[in-house]
């Protein structure tokens, strides 16, 4: 059975999605347990797969038993093994936590909602595990289409934001497809490993250069990297909470993973960093994006929108870290990606539990939350500290590596941007905590006391919060045994 693990991590959520959708028509009560079982199996098998990869090295799985360039293969190495484990755990935890709010908001279309959520998980898992450039596009579209629909369920302005996302997302995916077309016409192959070996001999080709640029721009559009981020804050803010907590931690991170996979493995570090000479430009640009993201985040009043804008900063870290092109920077970027899945999940889940009890999330209505919802606020503090980068949370260690990488590469502007944005995050969260902690006593009239969120939300939240600290404490081991060996040889 272990040899089939790469297929299982994608097909189990897929089959579960069908089961959940059918259950929605026949027995709506079964939707939740069916999905829970499916995601549980997925999480277990992806962790098992990671263990397998750590022990035996890269695992390859031929779908339909067709060998590599002709058929589609799944390739799991350390890089996507760890991303897979993070994604599946995140989806599992989110599934438990979102039960109450899905039930209250979408009782008449529960099967469709759960089915789409599971299909989204299938999409992101498939994107991560695949070793075929075109297969990635198809899975990307699955993840995107389900994300459009889930986001548009928010009511009010949500359909408009989602439609905006449709346009930007489709342009991004089309750019990616066009880039794959340019690669195909020059090489005749679609398999990533095969492409990488053919591209070794085509260093000076214009068409490959254009393919690189188009693919990266397409992926950046999907990631919401700074000048192309227009769709992101609106889409995530107007989405309903159960959709935001699933999509916000996963979609942009998975696209960041795709960027790393393409830059580091498909085109190879010598080409991406050496031949092109775009490295320094991108790092400068990422620094600019970090600053711009901080400014955008500072200007928000709504809590949900504010934490959404923090994603912009995190994405810029990952782009910058990847394009630093040295060992510490790239390791930092990968580690930050994994951390960010959990940090974002923690913060979003915490805020969603606040929203579950209280509809409006203005800074002014947050007084006295610490005494009323101590566990939720505790988890929010942990997540916030991790985003700011305070030890012993995991966010500190990845930021430290990024700083080290920037110092080694001589990119002082990236260091400045990193420190500046950490301060901005501190200010942002301090505003929230100040309102929530010190506002006690001068309660506005008619404001009833809030209860702690239901147990089904608090327990997953606390698990994530503890996980962040644990990941921070184990960071040395994780980096040295998983992430550093994952880097390709060319990264010095």
């Amino acid at each position: 059975m272990t040899s089939h693990l790469p297929a299982l991590v994608v097909t189990v959520p897929l089959l579960t999605a069908f089961a959940a959708f059918a259950a929605g028509w026949l027995r709506p009560k079964l939707c939740f347990p069916v999905g829970l079982t499916g995601l549980g199996i997925t999480a277990i098998s992806s962790i098992w797969l990671l263990a397998e990869v750590l022990e035996a090295g890269t695992v390859t799985y031929e779908l339909g038993r067709w060998p590599a360039p002709w058929g589609i293969v799944y390739v799991v190495d350390r890089l996507n093994g760890v991303v897979l484990a993070a994604i599946s755990l995140c989806a599992f935890i989110q599934w438990i936590s979102s039960r109450a709010s899905v039930k209250s908001q979408f009782s008449d279309r529960i099967g469709a909602f759960y089915g789409l959520e599971l299909l989204f998980v299938t999409g992101v898992m498939g994107i991560t595990v695949t070793g075929d450039a075109f297969n990635l596009y198809v899975l990307l579209e699955i993840a995107s289409i389900t994300a459009y629909a889930l986001i548009a369920m928010g009511g009010g302005r949500a359909p408009l934001s989602s439609l905006n996302y449709v346009f930007m997302g489709t342009i991004g995916a089309c750019f990616y497809l066009l880039g794959v077309g340019y690669l195909y016409i020059m090489t005749g192959s679609l398999n990533m490993a095969d492409l990488a070996s053919i591209l070794q001999g085509m260093r000076s080709s214009q068409a490959i250069l254009v393919a690189f640029v188009i693919i990266i721009v397409g992926v950046w559009l999907k990631m919401g990297f700074f000048p192309l981020h227009g769709w992101l804050p609106n889409a995530y803010t107007h989405a309903p909470w159960p959709a935001t907590t699933l999509i916000a931690p996963l979609m942009t991170k998975v696209m960041a993973y795709v960027m790393m996979r393409l830059v580091l493995f498909l085109f190879g570090p010598e080409y991406s960093f050496g031949v092109l000479g775009l490295k320094d430009v991108v790092v400068w640009w990422a620094s600019l994006a970090v600053v711009a993201g901080s400014v955008i985040a500072l200007s928000q009043k709504d809590l949900k929108r504010m934490i959404t804008c923090i994603i912009l900063i995190e994405i810029a870290y990952m782009v910058g870290g990847t394009f630093l092109g040295n060992r510490s920077g790239t390791t930092g970027a990968i580690f930050h990606l994994v951390n960010d899945v959990f940090m974002t999940l923690c913060v979003f889940l915490a805020v969603s539990s606040l929203a579950f009890r209280q509809r409006e999330l203005d800074m002014d209505t947050m007084e006295g939350l610490f005494s009323e919802m101590p566990f939720t606020m505790g988890a929010l503090v942990t997540g916030a500290l991790s985003i700011v980068g305070v030890p012993p949370t995991c966010g500190f260690f990845s930021k430290w590596l990024l700083l080290k990488g920037a110092l080694e590469a001589g990119h002082y502007e990236f260091m400045v941007a990193l420190i500046l944005s950490s301060l901005v995050c501190l200010v942002l969260f301090f505003r929230v905590f100040e309102a929530a902690y010190f506002g006690h006593g001068e309660r506005s009239h008619g404001h009833h006391r809030m209860r702690e969120a239901p147990l089904g939300m608090v327990v997953p939240l606390l698990v994530v919060a503890i996980g962040i600290v644990a990941l921070g404490l184990m960071s040395g081991e994780v980096i040295s045994s998983i992430i550093e060996p994952a880097l390709p040889r060319g990264v010095l």
């Binding site: 596009y137 198809v138 289409i145 439609l163 342009i171 016409i185």
Partner: protein, 128 residues
């Protein structure tokens, strides 16, 4: 002169495809009406499909269905490359799925704002 003509004949197809893509892209970016944007999006996708299909083209070859009775001696140069066709079948399906979702969203937007013009919608949002 002859060389230029040669280049034009060999490549003009690609240029027209790229022009078509850019027409679609312009439609998505610059049009004000949401349904027009969706039309532009579809044109962009279809143009990329056209580009892929043309890659599989081989002069002097026939459609990729093995002729009955010649199964024993198949030469690859006699048949058009089937791989881009397969990829683009998938891409067409993706395009129509995106179209369906986008139109459903446009109908929802119209229900909410009573208009499909982007500037009028933004005006309404600003007023409320």
């Amino acid at each position: 002169m002859d060389r230029i003509l040669e280049v034009v004949i060999a490549k003009y197809n690609y240029w027209i495809y790229i022009v078509l893509m850019m027409i679609g892209l312009y439609g998505v970016i610059a049009k004000n009406n949401l349904v027009k944007k969706i039309v532009g999006m579809s044109i962009f996708q279809t143009a990329i499909i056209l580009f892929f299909i043309s890659m599989g083209m081989k002069k002097g070859a026939t459609i990729p269905i093995i002729i009955h009775g010649q199964e024993a001696s198949v030469r690859a140069s006699d048949y058009i490359n089937p791989l881009p066709h397969v990829l683009m079948l998938t891409a067409i399906v993706v395009a129509v799925s995106t179209l369906g979702v986008a139109l459903a969203l446009a109908v929802k937007v119209y229900k909410e704002f009573d208009t499909l013009e982007e500037d009028e919608i933004l005006e309404k949002i600003r007023k409320s």
